[in-house]
């Protein structure tokens, strides 16, 4: 039992409000940045910058608001495997679509 107790006190990490305030501020600042960036004329880079900021914001939410930074290896692996599968599905669909016409020009 005592082994479990130790285990649980390590697992049940309570994230402090200070971190939540910090992350919420960072998310709001990033929102302002992405809107400001959309008014700049960057050509194809507009989409890249906007998506990069979105990925960064989503990572902050997953790691801190959703506690993955403080979670067990099982959960970290689950989230990682899910994202990997997601990227395979989207990436393969897009690569098929983009390369359909190759060779016919």
């Amino acid at each position: 039992m005592s082994a479990h107790e130790e285990h649980s006190s390590e697992e049940q990490h309570i994230v402090s409000p200070k971190i939540y305030v910090l992350i919420a501020t960072a998310l709001l600042v990033c929102t302002a940045l992405t809107v400001a960036a959309s008014y700049l004329e960057l050509g194809a880079w507009n989409a890249v910058v906007a998506l990069a900021i979105a990925v960064f914001k989503a990572s902050l939410v997953v790691l801190f608001f959703m506690h993955i930074k403080y979670s067990s290896k099982l959960l970290k692996l689950t989230v990682g495997a899910g994202l990997f599968t997601f990227l395979i599905l989207v990436g393969m669909s897009m690569s098929d679509y983009i390369s359909r016409a190759w060779g016919s020009f």
Binding site: V61, T78, V90
Partner: protein, 245 residues
């Protein structure tokens, strides 16, 4: 675990809270299983929204001028406000989870109310945007007029948009179909979430979470943050990335 507020189920067993199910070795294992199950559900949700995101990317490549013109009809001010509202509601929900973990009933009730109010504000702003689409004949299937993109009217304070050829203008309907499908599914998730918020609020006022049995609140927190993440991607894709083309 040894705190006196925890109701003990049976002293002949090893000591554990009454809400620990008997097939779990420890509370830690029960909590891990609960979050693991919730995450698996959220991953299926990611795949579900991912299908729509992929459709959006492919059609945007296909009917690029139509998607640019469609995107220009959205209000950046309303979109940005809604993003800030939703991020703040994620923050208040995170605070709610913290209050539940540290057994602050008052703080939990306040956090749930604030999250609910911010969720309502989001849907209110969203409905203003939907109404605008209705007025402008930009609702596919119900009230749609492609001619608004062939001969765009000058908006006050905005440069006049160049008109699209008729066949491309008709493809703006694809943009608006995806716009309503994606923001609509997102809004549906918010409405379901607000129903759950009201349920948790009633339970919290009755003191149901005072004994530390807060798996429901923690899992709802994961759900609410997931809905936030979906919007974090919807906002740039629908509103921002076509500003300059």
């Amino acid at each position: 675990m040894d705190s006196p507020t925890v109701a003990l189920h049976d002293s002949s067993h090893s000591e554990h809270p009454s809400y620990q199910r008997h097939h779990f070795v420890s509370m830690a294992q029960q909590k891990d299983s609960a979050s693991f199950g919730m995450w698996l559900f959220l991953l299926t949700e990611i795949m579900f929204f991912g299908g729509m995101f992929t459709a959006y990317l492919i059609y945007r490549n296909w009917y690029y001028p139509a998607f640019v013109a469609g995107s220009h009809t959205l209000s950046i001010v309303l979109g940005t406000t809604n993003t800030a509202v939703l991020i703040t509601s994620s923050f208040t929900m995170a605070m709610g989870v913290w209050c539940a973990e540290t057994r602050r009933r008052g703080g939990l009730i306040l956090s749930l109310i604030l999250t609910l109010v911010l969720g309502l504000a989001f849907l209110g702003i969203k409905s203003v945007e939907y109404h605008e689409k209705w007025v402008q004949h930009h609702v596919p299937g119900l009230r749609f007029d492609a001619m608004t993109f062939v001969h765009p009217k000058a908006e006050p304070g905005q440069p006049v948009e160049p008109g699209l050829p008729l066949d491309m203008a008709q493809h703006t309907e694809v943009y608006f179909s995806l716009y309503f499908a994606m923001t609509g599914m997102h809004a549906l998730h918010m409405i379901i979430g607000m129903g759950l918020l009201i349920y948790m609020l009633i339970r919290a006022i009755r003191g149901a979470y005072d004994n530390g049995n807060i798996a429901f609140i923690e899992n709802f927190g994961l759900y609410w943050h997931f809905v936030d993440i979906v919007w974090i991607f919807l906002f740039p894709l629908l509103y921002l990335i076509s500003r300059h083309q």
